[in-house]
C-alpha cells in the first residue's frame, strides 16, 4: 500500500519485462503493460461489475477452493485496488455478447478495446525479485494428493485458515465441511530428496508447520496436531521457543515420514503408516486431514529474467549471487541485485533483510551517480579487430558490442566489464588487451619460469579467486606439495590463451595445468567453460601435432580446497617425472616449426 502511494515509486502491475539492454547506470528496460480492460485511474472498486458478471471460474488465489468472476481483483490486498478482466473467460470480447459490467459501471471504466502497451524506461539499477513457486506433490503417489480429498498442501491449508480465505477463516475439511479433530503434517515433501522433488532444504516449511499447529490450537482446543518429520530445523531467532510453545500447546512431533497414506472410504479419514525412528516401531496414525509441507521451487518464469540480465543459476535452479558470503545481494551483472527468494528459499524475515540490503546497495549506487570501474578491463585495438564477433559471444556480461554485419569493430563498455579476460584469450587476432594481465606480461612469466631447468618445472595457470586462493590456503596450512610447480595467476581460467600453453611446451615445460573455479562457481558467471572448451581444442591440436595431449591437464579447485590443490600438484609431479628429455626436445622442435610456419603466413598476409 505504501509503495503504491509513494511519490517516487511507479508501480507497474500486470506487466512483463520483454527486453533489457545497457549496463550499470544506463539500463533500458522494455515492458509490456498488459491490458486490464478496466481503467485503474477511474475504477473505484465498487464491486457492481462483479455482481452482474455471469462467468464463474476457479479462483487461483484461493487455490481453487473458491470461485471468482471474469472481472475480478486478483487478491484482497492487491495494489492498485481496481478490477481487471480475464479476457480468456470473459464473454464480452468480440463480438460483445454480454457487456453487463460495462452497463453497470458508473465510472465508465470498462474498455473492451484496451490494448497491451509497450513502454520503455531508463533505469540505473535493477532489483530482481521473482518470487517462488510451490512444489507440486502429485508425483508422491504414496501421499494420495489429489486422490484423497482431505490431503492438502501447506499453501492450500494456509488459504483455508486465512481470514480472507474461502471459508473466511473457518477451518473445515473438504470432504464433509466439518472441523477436523486431528491434523497430520508431513514435513519435507519435495525437499531434501534426490529421488523426488529437490535435494535442497526449502528453509521455511518447519517453521510454517510449527506456526500452523499453534494457529490450530488457538482456533480450537479440540484440534490435535501431529507432525511427522525427519529433523525439525529451528535455527533462527526465537524459533526454538516457538517449537517449544507448539509442543506445550499439545502438538505431537513424531520422527518418521509416512511411507504410505490410505483413506478410510467410509469416514474419509486418513491412515498414515510410519516407522518411528526414535522407537524403531512401525505405527499407524489415523487423522482427519493431512497437510503436506511442500517445498519451494524457483519461479518458472525467472528463467526469462535470467537470460535478459545475463545471470546464471546454481544447480538448484535459483539465481546465483556474486559471492555466497561476501556479496550475497549482488548479481554477477553490475547494477543488478537480488531480493526475496531469487537466490535461495527464504522466510519473511530473511526476505525483508535481503530486500532492504538490495535497496540500500542500489541506492548507494544511485546516490553516487557514478561507478568506479574495475582496473582490470579489456580494451580493443580497433585496427586489429576484424569484427568477427567472437569476443562479444564469449563475454559473460555482454559488455562487448560489435557489428559483424556492418563491420563496425568491437567496443568494450568498461562499466560492464569485470575483467575475466576471456575475450582477450579467444580473440584470434590479438586485438584485445587485458589491462594488468596483458599477453606480454603473462608470456614473460612463462619465459622466465622456463629459462632454465625446464624439465623440472610444471607450469600451473591458476585463477585468482579459486585455484590461486587454494594454493595460498595450502601454503598457509603448511601442506607439502612439490616445489616443481610454477604458478601463474590469471583473474580467470578463461584468460588462459592457447598461445600461453603452446609457448610453455615450446620452451620445454613437461606438464601444463590449467585450473579454475569449480564448474558452477565461476566468479565470472561461466567464463571457465570457455577455458574448458579451449583445453579440449588444445588436446586435439597437440595430438594432431604428435604431442601427447595428456601433458596438458585441467582441474577445478576451490579456494577452500587446499588439500585438493596439494594432491593435484603431487599428481602433476608424478606425471612430470614420466616425461622424457627426448619427448620434450621433440615437442620443442615441433612447436618451433609450427610457430615459424604461422609467422611466415602472417608476414605474407601483411605484405598482401
Amino acid at each position: 500500500m505504501d509503495v503504491g502511494r509513494h511519490p517516487n515509486i511507479t508501480l507497474l502491475t500486470y506487466s512483463e519485462v520483454e527486453d533489457v539492454s545497457g549496463y550499470i547506470g544506463n539500463f533500458k528496460v522494455k515492458m509490456r503493460r498488459k491490458a486490464k480492460y478496466v481503467d485503474e485511474s477511474t475504477c473505484n472498486a465498487c464491486e457492481e461489475c462483479v455482481k452482474v458478471c455471469p462467468v464463474v471460474v476457479p479462483d487461483e488465489f484461493q487455490m481453487g477452493f473458491a470461485s471468482r468472476r471474469a472481472i475480478y481483483i486478483p487478491f484482497p490486498q492487491a495494489v492498485p485496488s481496481s478490477y481487471l478482466i480475464d479476457m480468456e473467460a470473459c464473454l464480452g470480447n468480440f463480438p460483445i455478447a454480454c457487456g453487463k459490467c460495462m452497463d453497470v459501471c458508473d465510472q465508465n471504466s470498462i474498455n473492451y478495446d484496451m490494448k497491451d502497451e509497450i513502454i520503455e524506461v531508463e533505469v540505473g539499477t535493477i532489483i530482481v525479485s521473482p518470487g517462488i513457486d510451490m512444489y507440486d506433490p502429485t508425483e508422491h503417489d504414496e501421499y494420495g494428493y489429489t486422490k484423497f480429498e482431505n490431503v492438502l498442501t501447506s499453501m492450500e491449508f494456509e488459504r483455508l485458515m486465512g481470514p480472507t480465505g474461502p471459508t473466511a477463516g473457518e477451518i473445515i475439511r473438504p470432504s464433509d465441511r466439518k472441523m477436523p479433530r486431528t491434523v497430520g503434517f508431513i514435513q519435507c515433501v519435495g525437499s531434501r530428496s534426490r529421488k523426488k522433488g529437490n535435494p535442497y532444504c526449502s528453509n521455511i516449511c518447519c517453521m510454517n508447520t510449527v506456526k500452523e499447529t499453534l494457529l490450530l490450537s488457538e482456533y480450537s482446543s479440540d484440534i490435535k496436531s501431529k507432525v511427522f518429520y525427519m529433523d525439525m530445523r529451528t535455527f533462527g531467532k526465537g524459533f526454538e521457543d516457538f517449537l517449544k510453545r507448539s509442543k506445550e500447546h499439545g502438538a505431537i512431533y513424531i520422527r518418521g515420514i509416512p511411507g504410505e497414506i490410505e483413506e478410510d472410504p467410509r469416514t474419509k479419514n486418513l491412515i498414515l503408516t510410519i516407522e518411528d525412528t526414535m522407537t524403531g516401531k512401525i505405527e499407524q496414525h489415523e487423522v482427519e486431514m493431512v497437510v503436506l509441507a511442500t517445498g519451494i521451487t524457483p519461479r518458472v518464469d525467472s528463467e526469462g529474467i535470467r537470460k535478459l540480465l545475463t545471470l546464471t543459476t546454481t544447480s538448484d535452479g535459483f539465481l546465483m549471487e556474486q559471492h555466497p558470503k561476501l556479496k550475497p545481494v549482488e548479481a554477477p551483472t553490475a547494477g543488478v541485485f537480488l531480493s526475496g527468494c531469487a537466490e535461495s528459499p527464504k522466510d519473511v524475515r530473511e526476505s525483508v533483510q535481503q530486500a532492504g540490503a538490495a535497496a540500500a546497495k542500489a541506492q548507494i549506487l544511485m546516490g553516487q551517480g557514478k561507478v568506479k570501474v574495475e582496473a582490470i578491463t579489456a580494451s580493443v585495438d580497433s585496427e586489429h579487430c576484424t569484427c568477427c564477433g567472437i569476443c562479444a559471444k564469449v563475454c559473460p556480461y555482454s559488455a562487448i558490442t560489435v557489428d559483424v554485419k556492418n563491420k563496425i569493430p568491437a567496443t568494450v563498455t568498461e562499466a560492464a566489464c569485470h575483467g575475466c579476460g576471456t575475450c582477450s584469450a579467444e580473440c584470434p587476432f590479438d586485438a584485445i588487451t587485458m589491462k594488468h594481465f596483458t599477453d606480454k606480461q603473462l608470456l614473460s612469466m612463462v619465459d622466465n619460469y622456463l629459462e632454465e631447468k625446464q624439465k623440472e618445472k610444471i607450469i600451473v595457470f591458476a585463477c585468482n579467486w579459486c585455484s590461486y586462493a587454494g594454493a595460498d590456503f595450502a601454503g598457509i596450512s603448511r601442506l607439502q606439495y612439490p616445489d616443481t610447480c610454477r604458478i601463474i595467476r590469471t583473474m580467470c581460467s578463461g584468460r588462459v590463451d592457447e598461445k600461453f600453453v603452446l609457448r610453455a611446451f615450446e620452451l620445454g615445460a613437461p606438464i601444463v595445468l590449467v585450473s579454475g573455479c569449480h564448474y558452477a562457481d565461476c566468479t565470472y558467471i561461466n567464463a571457465n567453460r570457455w577455458a574448458q572448451l579451449r583445453v579440449e581444442k588444445l588436446w586435439n591440436k597437440l595430438e594432431r601435432l604428435g604431442i601427447r595431449p595428456e601433458r596438458l591437464q585441467l582441474e577445478w579447485i576451490a579456494a577452500s580446497e587446499a588439500v585438493k590443490f596439494a594432491k593435484v600438484m603431487k599428481e602433476m609431479e608424478e606425471m612430470r617425472k614420466k616425461v622424457t628429455i627426448e619427448e620434450i626436445k621433440e615437442t620443442e622442435k615441433i612447436l618451433k616449426q609450427e610457430r615459424e610456419k604461422k609467422e611466415a603466413r602472417e608476414k605474407k598476409k601483411k605484405k598482401k
Binding site: 558452477a520 561461466n526 585441467l554 582441474e555
Partner: protein, 51 residues
C-alpha cells in the same frame, strides 16, 4: 536431438575410458568416474562423409 551418452571420453589423468554426453562447442561438467579428475577429453567419432 535425443539425450545420448555414447561419446567416448578419456581421462587425461588416469587414462580411464568411458562414455558420456557430448555436443560440439558446448561445455559440460565432466569428471572421471575412476579418479575424479576434471581432465576429461571427449573423443567424438569423426563424421564420415555421406553419399
Amino acid at each position: 536431438m535425443a539425450e545420448d551418452n555414447n561419446t567416448k571420453m578419456k581421462c587425461m589423468r588416469c587414462g580411464h575410458e568411458f562414455f558420456g554426453h557430448y555436443e560440439k562447442g558446448v561445455a559440460e561438467e565432466r569428471s572421471c568416474p575412476k579418479c575424479g579428475s576434471f581432465s576429461v577429453r571427449p573423443l567424438p567419432e569423426k563424421k564420415k562423409p555421406t553419399g
